[in-house]
């Protein structure tokens, strides 16, 4: 067992809640409680506060205290913090806020985890919030904690709408009422205005609706509206936030408060405060206030009209009515009585904690982790190489971290499609197991959702990888290389998706199928290798940037080697391409036309790349454009040669002898061929786009940049490449290249999967 007994990390800042919880925890024998020392600066945290004196009694060193104080507890935190937390605290309470932090709490904290519930409002269940935040993984994680998880509900009705996993772990941890200054002092009741509390009218649509409803139904009565207004409200009745003494004065002088919430699982503090101060509260039936007071409690009205009538009577100063309503409402306060609450806490918390002491993990399972790496599309070139590199990097990264990983590499099950040498020399820890992707029907998905506790969007078909055994469920994590899938993947295991580009944003008039977007969003984690692609994923796929992990690109073996400047005059350059729209064939051909026709280009152009032999085919768009250009500039016809797809070693030999490598693409994730070229002393003439710039910067390369849309400027770039040849450029920073092949890069890939395993 880890953690100091009776030390609690209470990740809450709600002013009223933390006061109450601190008192209750102390009454349960907790000597040290820590509350976060900062919270997000948004209007949603208007009721939040840091109350330093609440966390007395912690036996922390100065450094530990400083570390905790400087931590943002509303964002994911580092491993050193979790080490400290596990050492120092035996209980952790939280409210679901951040996806990654919630996942960390449920997976990294070794002690008792309490989801502290005060009601979400609007009929939303915590289950929904938890599942949404964790992309459907929350319930499974909670279940895996066993009795180490408690749903600490402030009101007994909260669990009613929760999933069984939460409901069965619910413990009633009520809110107690702190002593309010409002209760003290002489009660005057000479202010006939109806007191209504409605904060953030112009900053929160929910409160704006409440305000408008109040104005529509009760605006005719004299009224005053309190509550912090983060954004100005042009209404003289709205007096905004009032200091405690002035607010207490209002509680003493007003004759009636109106409370409008009909939410059966959420209660604001102000009606309780008012009742405690002896101020009658008129409230709408059906809410939690009515449940606490019982059906016969006075002040409860069914309709706004009834409410207006009662408010008028109370505001006019009907003393007997005021007294009878106030007296009747005192029973609501019983639920908040400190002694009663503390007894409930002791019963609930201590019994549960005793039960779970033996369940706490003492030793982590450090056995080998099995990870599946999928390639779900018929990729052949760079993506195929990247898939293999990722698989091997996970193995190497795990070794560097002192763990052992085994990888199941799962390209598409297409017998004879891949050349046999593609898989030669695989790390022995990588097992090749090709996959068939099969569609799954709604009934299977529904049953799987129940079995796995994972959520899946309704009405959307899914696919699963099939290995003929158990759908790769022997692997703890699935890494899917590329987002080109035909339907969202049903995640029997956590999914890491590696995305290389969002080409359709920039080329063609086709839009991406929605299934791809859904599949991307369902992934537990998304990894990219350039910040350009991350930016594109935010803009194109609306994925939050904090969900996207940037990992270093993994250089293949072919990129190794110090640049060698070969003085021999080369007679050709290599145009690396494939059949993708982003390869920009039309503009490239126009550039070549200009290069040979106007600029007198002398070098031959060798076209090579996956499936480029089909460019020769009669009737292809490329061959039509090429013939037309060759008619205009016969030299182009003589100088351009389509070599087609070359085996790796032939291609590298061809590249080594080139004057330069040409990349006229509109966009991609940065082409590694330019790195392979640089490693052989061959410079690059490349289109200028963010990912290519990033790759060049990362590796200290200085290509000749040309705009991808301007054939004339492109041709001038080719002429410059011909003129300067292989001499004047710093081609590749070998140190940087080595880093992208080293353990550090591999470790980044291991970290991606490590804590999901």
């Amino acid at each position: 067992m880890t953690g100091t007994p009776h030390h609690a990390l209470w990740l809450l800042n709600h002013r009223t809640a933390i006061r109450s919880d601190a008192a209750m925890l102390r009454s349960c024998g907790y000597t040290g409680i820590y509350f976060p020392k900062s919270f997000p600066a948004t209007a949603r945290f208007r009721s939040a506060a840091v109350i330093p004196h609440l966390d007395k009694g912690l036996s922390l060193t100065e450094d530990e205290q400083r570390l905790l104080d400087s931590t943002d507890w509303y964002r994911p935190v580092g491993d050193e913090i979790w080490d400290l937390v596990n050492r120092r605290f035996s209980v952790l309470a939280f409210r679901p806020w951040d996806c990654e932090l919630t996942r960390q709490i449920l997976t990294k904290f070794d002690g008792q985890v309490i989801l502290r519930g005060f009601g979400v409002g609007g009929g939303t269940a915590y289950t929904t919030v938890l599942q949404q935040l964790t992309r459907g993984r929350g319930l499974a994680l909670v279940e895996s904690l066993g009795d180490r998880f408690i749903f600490g509900q402030a009101y007994t009705s909260l669990a009613d709408i929760e999933h069984e996993v939460l409901r069965s772990r619910s413990v009633h941890l009520p809110l107690s009422l702190p002593v309010s200054a409002g209760a003290a002092g002489g009660i005057v009741r000479d202010d006939h205005r109806v007191l209504f509390v409605c904060p953030d009218i112009n900053a929160n649509p929910l409160y704006l609706r409440k305000y408008e409803e109040f104005k529509r139904h009760l605006g005719g009565l004299d009224h005053v509206i309190c509550g912090n207004q983060a954004v100005e409200v042009r209404d003289p009745a709205v007096i905004g936030f009032q200091p405690q003494d002035i607010y207490d004065e209002l509680l003493r002088r007003c004759r009636v408060m109106f409370y409008d919430s009909r939410d059966p699982r959420h209660l604001h503090y102000h009606p309780i405060e008012a009742i405690r101060a002896g101020l009658p509260v008129v409230f709408l039936s059906g809410g939690l206030l009515q449940e606490l007071g019982g059906r016969s409690v006075k002040g409860c009205v069914d309709t706004w009209q009834e409410g207006r009538h009662l408010l008028q009577r109370l505001a006019s100063g009907d003393r007997r009515l005021v007294e009878s309503v106030s007296r009747s409402q005192l029973r609501i306060l019983e639920a908040f009585d400190e002694e009663r609450c503390s007894a409930i806490w002791r019963d609930g918390l201590s019994s549960r904690l005793q039960r779970t002491k033996s369940d706490r993990p003492t030793v982590r399972d450090d056995g080998p982790v099995k990870v599946a790496v999928f390639l779900p599309e018929r990729y052949f070139g760079g993506t195929l190489r990247a898939t293999r590199a990722i698989a091997e990097a996970i193995v190497r990264g795990a070794r560097a971290a002192g763990r052992e990983a085994r990888v199941v590499l799962a390209p598409l099950d297409l017998p004879g499609y891949y050349p046999t040498d593609v898989w030669q020399g695989l790390d022995p820890a990588v097992e090749l197991r090709p996959a068939k992707w099969r569609p799954v029907d709604a009934a299977t998905i529904e049953a799987s959702v129940h079995l796995s506790r994972n959520s899946f969007p309704a009405g959307v078909g899914g696919i699963v990888p099939d290995d003929g055994h158990a759908h790769y469920q022997d692997c703890a994590v699935w890494v899917v290389v590329s987002d080109r899938v035909s339907a969202p993947i049903f995640r029997a295991r956590p999914v890491v998706m590696v995305v290389f580009d969002t080409i359709l944003r920039y080329v063609g008039t086709q839009t991406e199928p929605p299934e791809v977007a859904i599949a991307r969003r369902l992934a537990d984690r998304i990894a990219v290798t350039t910040s350009a692609t991350r930016n594109d994923l935010v803009q194109h796929g609306s994925i939050p940037s904090h969900d996207i992990h940037v990992v270093p690109p993994l250089l293949p073996d072919s990129c190794v080697g110090a640049p060698r400047l070969m003085p021999s005059a080369s007679r050709y350059f290599v145009w690396g391409t494939n059949l993708g729209l982003h390869k920009n064939h039309e503009i490239a051909l126009r550039a070549l036309e200009h290069y040979y026709g106007r600029l007198g280009g002398r070098l031959r152009c060798i076209v090579t790349g996956v499936r480029t032999e089909s460019l020769r085919e009669e009737g292809s768009e490329f061959s039509r454009m090429f013939r037309a250009a060759a008619e205009r500039v016969p030299l182009l016809g003589r100088k351009l040669r389509i070599a087609g797809h070359l085996a790796d070693d032939r291609f590298l030999r061809k590249l080594s002898g080139a004057s330069f490598f040409w990349n006229p693409s509109v966009i991609d994730n940065g082409t590694f061929t330019s790195v392979e070229a640089a490693a052989r002393g061959v410079p690059t003439v490349s289109s200028d786009y963010p990912a290519m710039r990033e790759l060049a910067k990362m590796l200290g390369m200085c290509p000749i940049w040309t705009p991808s849309w301007d054939p004339v400027a492109m041709a001038e770039g080719l002429a410059k490449g011909e003129e300067h040849g292989r001499r004047d450029y710093q081609l590749l920073n070998a140190g940087c290249a080595a880093m992208l092949r080293g353990d550090e890069a591999a470790l980044a890939y291991w970290r991606l999967v490590e804590d999901l395993a």
């Binding site: 997000p40 948004t42 209007a43 209404d235 080329v507 839009t511 935010v538 609306s542």
Partner: protein, 559 residues
């Protein structure tokens, strides 16, 4: 306390919130009421009263020195309004509500299911003779319950069958009616009085009657010193026996003839409106316009209106920051950004033409904003062409956010394959609009012509977002500094010019906003209360002249 009047006479069914004038109207009223010695009377047809109240309420204008005087609403219009409002209120509920019969059936079946399950369980768990006896007893007890339930079920089924028979008979009749053209006209009349083109003349006649009633109402309002009609759609009002100043915003359709004439129903809608504006400009004794350009080029050169009758009163400056500016947190800037992201996120649910789902990452989107209605002079297609080049050639990260909703915009967006990058969000509230401005990398207005300097310059600068605009006469009136004009203006007729300025502005955002700050400082001094004072001065002038003329005519009669 001096009392001034404002008069509008839009036809039935008009939602003032959706009219560009609605914004001007509330800002003007709020500006006028900033003077505690001023009281405002709004005269309008009775059918506009609730829309007017809603407009003022949403803008949080206090009503204590404001009075709305409406004419009587004809029963036909009341019925149409009731039909329109009623149907829109009732319809959404139908899909969600379960019928009472279904609810009862559901709960009865649930209970029976539970009872059946319980009985089976009793039988299944029986281990002793007493258990068997208990299960037998329980089962026998249930026989009458099942018989009763079956009875209820059969009765309910019978009711359902009858119900279906009636419904299908009715739907057969409905299908027959549906096929009939005359009936189709009746349906159109019932469902959409605003869109039925053949009913417009009826509305126009009603409107004319109402304008006559309005004139009477205005002449009876002796407490009002003078009147302002903030638009020029109703020439008849110029003949009201009261001093009345009329605003002529612009006559853009006569400058973009083909574009406006190509709009559906132009002959029935746009042409009469332009004729009415022409007629108003001819008849009005006191006119205000928003710019020197309209005063000279439109009124003098095109319509021959004497400049002596025309005063230029420019718009006040709209400071949108107060709608979103959060105060009192530990980091107000971050809190304001968060609020803006929330508002943008909620507005995004109204997005049109998108083909991909939108997730929370949309809160981080970077975008260029063009808030405008869809009109031929707004140059939306020109902007789309420029944006396509910005995205596809120059790989700008930003999306383009438009607020103009129109099928032709949608067609262009789809044809260009930009559905995922051009985001059309119609119906933004003022607060959502402010949030969009604040989050935008850049605001842009490629409009070809305007009667007034675009609001968006001030709106954008007020929340700290740089703006680039077309180089057109009304912007030249505002931008006295040539350097700044070159920096923030482009030729809206040249796509390359729009592209070049946008690229520059995106990559020199800080430099641009720094250069525009003095412009904003100058603009912010011209609040709506300043503009309102200028209107009141023109109205006072009209009142004085009216009195003088009245005295003259009384004198002439006496002589």
């Amino acid at each position: 306390m001096r009392t001034y009047g404002l008069v509008v006479a839009y036809p039935p069914g008009t939602k003032l919130q959706a009219e560009g004038l609605g914004v001007v109207l509330v800002r003007l009223i709020a500006g006028m009421l900033e003077d505690p010695g001023i009281r405002i009377v709004i005269a309008c047809p009775g059918w506009l009263q609730s829309s007017m109240r809603q407009l003022l309420r949403e803008a949080q204008v206090t009503m204590d020195r404001l009075e709305i005087r409406g004419t009587r609403v004809p029963y036909s219009v009341r019925w149409l309004q009731w039909r329109q409002n009623g149907s829109s209120k009732i319809r959404p509920l139908r899909g969600h509500r379960r019928r009472p019969l279904d609810r009862i059936k559901g709960s009865v079946l649930d209970t029976l299911q539970q009872v059946k399950h319980r009985t089976q369980f009793l039988w299944a768990k029986a281990c002793t003779p007493s258990d068997l006896a208990g299960a037998t007893f329980w089962s026998l007890l249930l026989v009458p319950v099942f018989v009763g339930a079956m009875g209820i079920y059969v009765a309910a089924k019978a009711v359902r069958v009858m119900d279906r028979a009636t419904t299908s008979a009715l739907s057969r009749i409905a299908r027959i009616i549906k096929a009939d053209r005359a009936a189709a006209k009746v349906r159109t009349l019932i469902k959409s009085p605003r869109l039925a083109t053949w009913i417009l003349p009826l509305f126009n006649e009603l409107q004319e009657l109402q304008i006559a009633a309005l004139k009477q109402l205005m002449s009876q309002s002796t407490d009002v010193e003078s009147w302002l009609c903030p638009t020029a759609f109703w020439p008849a009002l110029c003949k009201a026996p009261v001093p009345i100043v009329v605003t002529v915003p612009d006559i853009t359709p006569v400058e973009f003839i083909v574009g406006f004439a190509s709009l559906p129903g132009a002959l029935e809608t746009i042409v009469p409106v332009v004729d009415r504006v022409r007629s108003t400009a001819r008849q009005a004794k006191w006119i205000t316009v928003y710019s020197e350009h309209v005063r000279h080029q439109t009124l003098l050169d095109r319509l021959g209106v004497g400049l002596g009758r025309v005063r230029v009163v420019r718009h006040g400056t709209s400071n949108l920051s107060q709608l979103i500016q959060i105060r009192g947190t530990s980091d107000d800037v971050a809190a304001t950004d968060e609020l803006c992201r929330d508002l943008f996120w909620s507005a995004l649910h109204r997005t049109r033409y998108r083909t991909m789902p939108i997730y929370e990452g949309a809160r981080e989107w970077r975008f260029i904003l063009y808030p405008s209605q869809f009109r031929p002079n707004k140059n939306i297609v020109g902007l789309l062409e420029a944006y396509q080049i910005l995205l596809r050639r120059h790989l700008v990260r930003e999306k383009l956010v438009l607020t103009a909703e129109s099928p032709s915009v949608g067609e262009h967006v789809v044809a260009m394959g930009l559905q995922n990058d051009v985001v059309v969000i119609p119906g933004l509230s003022d607060q959502e609009l402010a949030a969009c401005y604040r989050l935008a990398s850049l605001a842009i207005s490629p409009t070809l012509a305007e009667g007034a300097c675009p609001f968006m310059i001030a709106e954008s600068l007020s929340v700290g977002t740089p703006v680039i605009v077309s180089d057109i006469p009304v912007t030249r009136e505002l931008l006295e500094d040539d350097g700044l004009r070159r920096m923030m203006c482009f030729d809206p007729y040249r796509t390359s010019s729009i592209v070049e300025r946008t690229l520059w502005a995106l990559s020199h955002r800080d430099e641009l906003i720094a250069a525009q700050r003095p412009l904003w400082e100058r603009m912010r001094g011209r609040t709506w209360s300043v503009a309102a004072r200028e209107y009141l001065a023109v109205m006072d002038e009209a009142a004085l002249e009216w009195k003088a003329r009245s005295k003259q005519s009384v004198g002439a009669i006496a002589e």
